[in-house]
């Protein structure tokens, strides 16, 4: 057994986290910043933070992740990191020539108390920021929230740094997709285009973290939301924020500061959340939903009805991030499945309430924990097993020990590819989720059914 020391008996732990279902803020800020065209994320701290984040993102995407660091030494930790950041800004603009440097802090620079705004102003005064280039910053202390919080903070920083209200509406809708895959961002853009609503999507990592192999390395690939688009987001008709945890702060900032009204929706995973997204999109855009979108929806419903017997009352354990889990749990309930155990490392009682609300009619006492970990999830499973695991690659240790199929979905996925290219958002993405789940269930039957009942047709 790989996790041979995990006991079935659950004891209270208040200080020790084991097998976390989250990581720290800065990596979320780095991922978000990669969704700005021509942007180099910058980690203001020890160089290990940057190395770890780049490695984790590289393993997940199998793509180059360019990001710089202030390379703190003990001296910088004592005297403050201003000199390091000033030097970094100058070096980055000279050597790598990005349009934007998106700085995020770390637990180190936050504990010291470095003031990003003040350092940026000083860089500006000293002429270290060339004309037409930008340095933006987000505070992302690792000891608050999780990687999701860091993502949200950087997205809010994008709006705060660029969005400008001119008084002339641009006729577009801002869509803040949250921490989804580049393929999902592409899918959201495709759906919006089909519905016929012009959108500004930010951040947008499509084209950045699923770039083609051409023989040329572009440190700043063709994708990403552009600075002019971000500026214009202050003139949009409204904002659709997908996911309370990832996207709401930026949307509310635009609402409060640029008078761009916002709606906070769930991430468009599964039937109902996608329905609400499309419905909101057509409402704010003042258009009717075209037949081709109806057709995609109808295909998904068709799949569900055709294969319902294989999903019905299957028990699932999930670990991941709040916005994704909320949408997925709703989807599972839609399929008459049982989201038995739900764990996120990200803190938030509201998450637990929402999951409880979504599962209140499910014929099972569903367990949910925010600020939980995979050790606890595993213990729950040991007490009453499930049919399916949904979550990141780390769940494969539980999957193997307990012989439960695993649907890899979330961050990080270190041992499979596909998430870069094939969306799980929208109706098409929902079809992919259904297909993957069904394949896991039926492959299991093909493996386990006795010869007497082994079947050709499902």
């Amino acid at each position: 057994m790989l996790l041979r020391h995990t006991p079935k008996e659950i004891t209270e732990r208040s200080a020790l986290t084991i097998n976390p279902a989250k990581t720290c803020q800065p990596i979320g800020a780095m991922y978000a910043a990669l969704g700005i065209h021509g942007c180099l994320p910058h980690s203001h701290g020890s160089q290990g933070c940057c190395a770890y984040h780049r490695s984790a993102l590289t393993r997940h995407y199998k793509e180059p992740i360019a990001a710089a660091t202030s390379s703190f030494t003990e001296g910088a930790s004592v005297f403050g990191g201003q000199a390091n950041l000033l030097q970094a800004i100058q070096n980055i603009f000279t050597v790598y020539e990005p349009d934007v440097i998106a700085v995020h802090t770390t637990c180190l620079s936050e504990t010291i108390g470095d003031d990003l705004n003040q350092i940026r102003d000083k860089a500006q005064k000293e002429g270290k920021i060339p004309e037409g280039k930008h340095v933006i910053g987000a505070n992302t202390p690792s000891y608050v929230g999780s990687h999701v919080t860091g993502f949200s903070n950087m997205v809010k920083a994008m709006a705060a740094a660029f969005a400008t209200r001119t008084g002339h509406k641009n006729g577009k809708v801002n869509v803040i997709p949250g921490w989804v895959e580049p393929s999902d961002m592409e899918e959201i853009k495709r759906l919006a285009a089909m519905v016929g609503v012009p959108i500004i999507l930010f951040p947008d990592t499509s084209g950045v973290l699923n770039a083609p192999l051409t023989g040329e390395y572009k440190m700043f690939p063709d994708g990403g939301v552009t600075v002019p688009e971000l500026i214009s987001s202050g003139d949009s008709l409204g904002t659709l924020a997908l996911g309370e945890w990832c996207s709401a702060d930026a949307a509310r900032w635009l609402d409060a500061n640029c008078k761009v009204p916002c709606m906070i929706l769930d991430m468009p995973f599964g039937l109902k959340a996608t329905d609400r997204f499309i419905d909101a999109l057509r409402t704010v855009g003042g258009v009717s939903v075209p037949e081709e979108v109806m057709k995609e929806r109808g295909q998904m419903v068709d799949f569900i009805s055709d294969m319902h017997q294989y999903f019905y009352h299957k028990k699932v354990a999930l670990a991941g991030d709040p916005d994704q889990l909320i949408a997925m749990v709703e989807f599972l309930v839609t399929l008459d499945m049982i989201p038995a155990y739900v764990v996120t490392g990200t803190p938030g009682k509201a998450f637990e309430r929402r999951i409880k609300e979504l599962t209140k009619d499910v014929p099972y006492e569903c367990q949910v924990k925010a600020k939980g970990d995979m050790f606890l999830l595993h213990q729950w499973i040991k007490n009453d097993p499930v049919d399916l695991l949904i979550g990141n690659t780390y769940l494969k240790y539980i999957a193997r020990d307990e012989d439960i199929p695993l649907l890899r979905w979330g961050f990080p996925i270190l041992d499979r590819v596909g998430h870069q290219y094939f969306p799980t958002a929208g109706y098409k993405g929902g079809l992919r989720l259904l297909e993957k789940m069904l394949d896991l269930f039926l492959s299991r039957r093909d493996r386990d059914d006795p010869e007497q009942t082994f079947e050709l047709v499902y």
Partner: protein, 546 residues
């Protein structure tokens, strides 16, 4: 059918260096100039390389931090210590199972905590009010859940700043438990200039708290420790196989596939064999000073080096039976190695490589490439010191700067009871006179050709530039570098984690490596980058069917 690539011609090394530096601001260029060397080694003269110095802020480095070197590299591969990261969640999360250290915990009742990540997950209130209480509680919770023989604590950046006394917390827990060795590492990420500082800190604490804890006699002949072998991709398994075949007893490995007891019994060995000089030479020195165990540099990367290292071990033990057995093993293993090398050589000969990795691999792997006729154009380390480039003779001349000064140097003395020189002085002398070298490492530079490049702490910009200028057939570095190089159409081999491959050590490992390099440098993959219509983009007026 590999893509035909335009090779660099007419570039003088000096011009290449100028090209690498020309975009930098003057201050950066001045510093980097001292870390970029053109090898003019002829005879004894080796150029001085500036190494183990700060990375320039904003310059995209390959390096990681002290915590990574300590928790990730040195202690990561030991399976039966509960490693608790004291800090916010990230550091523990990123060092969780990401280094491909394999371990064999198949024995009945064996403990294995490597698939687990333990963290105090510090919150803002811990930063404000101090994290010692939470740490003490976390240690107790781990103890009560698992009753491990040992718990190790690793400090992350904020811990040092807020002044948590992790050593006092560890000491108290150890006293309370009575049957669990609890100790701590002050390996905050900001210390030193790279992972290297973390190796040193790890070495010191392991030596202080674990080595020598178990005095029970260990069975076996020709007892050695293997230092600086991390069992990435199963390297250690292959080395163990060979040692066993030769009748050599491996007592402890620092730290691939290791256990607490191996460290605790390491002082019972009669010889220390150092693989990765950079990460572990401190322990070798300390074991010699305190217990009288001599150390030699070995290298099990490359078939010839493996044979050489085995002979060196046999020569040290000066035992005819062992020497004969070693020769028999080499004779048995080499034909297959030679056959594969000869075959691969027909396709790899004359191809070129660049290696920028680690503190020893950029050196050791040149040998494997040479065995299939490939030439190393440029190489450098990520976190090495000057002695790893120029040889240990420069150690007295290395200036200790502020960043190194704050890494603890522990004073070790001969153990009053257990110090025992393994060989009489005359025997050691006789061996040395016969050309046997103890505590000796010549570094990477003497093994490199004239006109090649030696570059310390290579960064993203320089890596891309080198590839663009030289179009090597393969580039070796780590995961962060992998895909920017491959976007340029050059295959990239990770030499930290070996991608998904390995083992590459020993005889079977050499065979694996030759085949892997054959796959990479002769792959058709790199010929697919252009679509057929891109060769002739202009549409002509007539279509084929007309």
């Amino acid at each position: 059918m590999a893509a035909t690539k335009k090779k660099l011609v007419n570039w003088e090394p000096a011009n290449v260096k100028e090209e690498l530096l020309k975009k930098y601001p003057p201050k950066v260029a001045r510093k980097r100039a001292k870390q970029i060397m053109i090898n003019e080694a002829e005879g004894s003269e080796t150029p001085e390389v500036m190494a183990n110095v700060r990375t320039i802020p904003g310059i995209i480095t390959m390096r990681g931090c002290t915590y990574a070197g300590c928790k990730g590299v040195i202690l990561g591969p030991t399976r039966d210590i509960v490693n608790i990261t004291h800090g916010p969640i990230g550091c523990g999360f990123y060092s969780w199972l990401t280094r491909r250290n394999q371990t064999d915990a198949s024995a009945e009742g064996a403990e294995n905590y490597m698939p687990y990540c333990f963290s105090t997950d510090m919150q803002d209130e811990d930063i404000i009010f101090g994290g010692e209480k939470k740490l003490a509680k976390a240690i107790r919770e781990a103890y009560e859940l698992f009753h491990p023989k040992s718990i190790a604590i690793f400090a992350t950046c904020p811990v040092g700043l807020i002044g948590d006394d992790i050593h006092a917390v560890a000491k108290k827990a150890k006293e309370e438990f009575g049957d669990c060795n609890v100790f701590a590492f002050s390996c905050e990420g900001y210390k030193g200039v790279s992972q290297s500082a973390g190796h040193h800190i790890a070495n010191n604490q392991i030596f202080k708290h674990v080595v020598g804890e178990n005095d029970a006699d260990k069975p076996g002949e020709y007892k050695i420790n293997l230092l600086g072998e991390y069992n990435i991709g199963g390297d250690g398994f292959e080395i163990d196989r060979i040692l066993k075949k030769c009748g050599i007893t491996g007592l402890a490995t620092f730290s691939g596939n290791s256990t607490y007891d191996q460290f605790a019994s390491a002082h019972k060995a009669d010889l220390n064999c150092v693989m990765c000089h950079r990460s572990i030479n401190y322990v070798a020195d300390m074991l010699e000073t305190k217990f009288g165990i001599p150390w030699i540099k070995v290298n099990f990367i490359g078939a010839k080096s493996t044979a050489k290292s085995l002979r060196k071990i046999a020569q040290y033990f000066d035992d005819k039976k062992l020497m004969e057995r070693v020769e028999a093993v080499i004779a048995e293993e080499m034909p297959e190695v030679d056959a594969v090398a000869a075959d691969v050589k027909t396709r790899a000969e004359g191809k070129t490589a660049m290696l920028f990795v680690g503190g020893s691999r950029a050196h050791h792997y040149q040998e494997l490439f040479a065995e299939i006729g490939m030439k190393t154009l440029a190489a450098g380390y990520e976190f090495a010191h000057r002695d790893d480039y120029e040889g240990r003779h420069v150690i007295p001349d290395i200036k200790v700067d502020a960043d190194s000064k704050n890494i603890e140097e522990i004073e070790v003395e001969a153990d009053p009871e257990r110090y025992n020189p393994r060989k009489p002085v005359e025997e050691m002398k006789k061996l040395e006179e016969a050309g046997f070298q103890f505590k000796h490492y010549d570094g990477m530079i003497p093994d490199m050709d004239k006109g090649t490049f030696i570059i310390d702490d290579l960064n993203q910009y320089e890596a891309d530039k080198l590839v663009e200028l030289f179009k090597p057939d393969i580039f070796c570095a780590g995961i962060k570098e992998k895909f920017s190089i491959q976007k340029l159409g050059i295959p990239m081999k990770q030499l930290h984690s070996y991608d998904s491959g390995g083992p590459y050590a020993g005889f079977q490992g050499a065979i694996n490596f030759y085949k892997e390099i054959d796959r990479l440098v002769n792959s058709k993959v790199w010929s697919y980058m252009k679509a057929p219509w891109q060769d002739n983009p202009e549409l002509s007026a007539t279509y084929v069917w007309e």
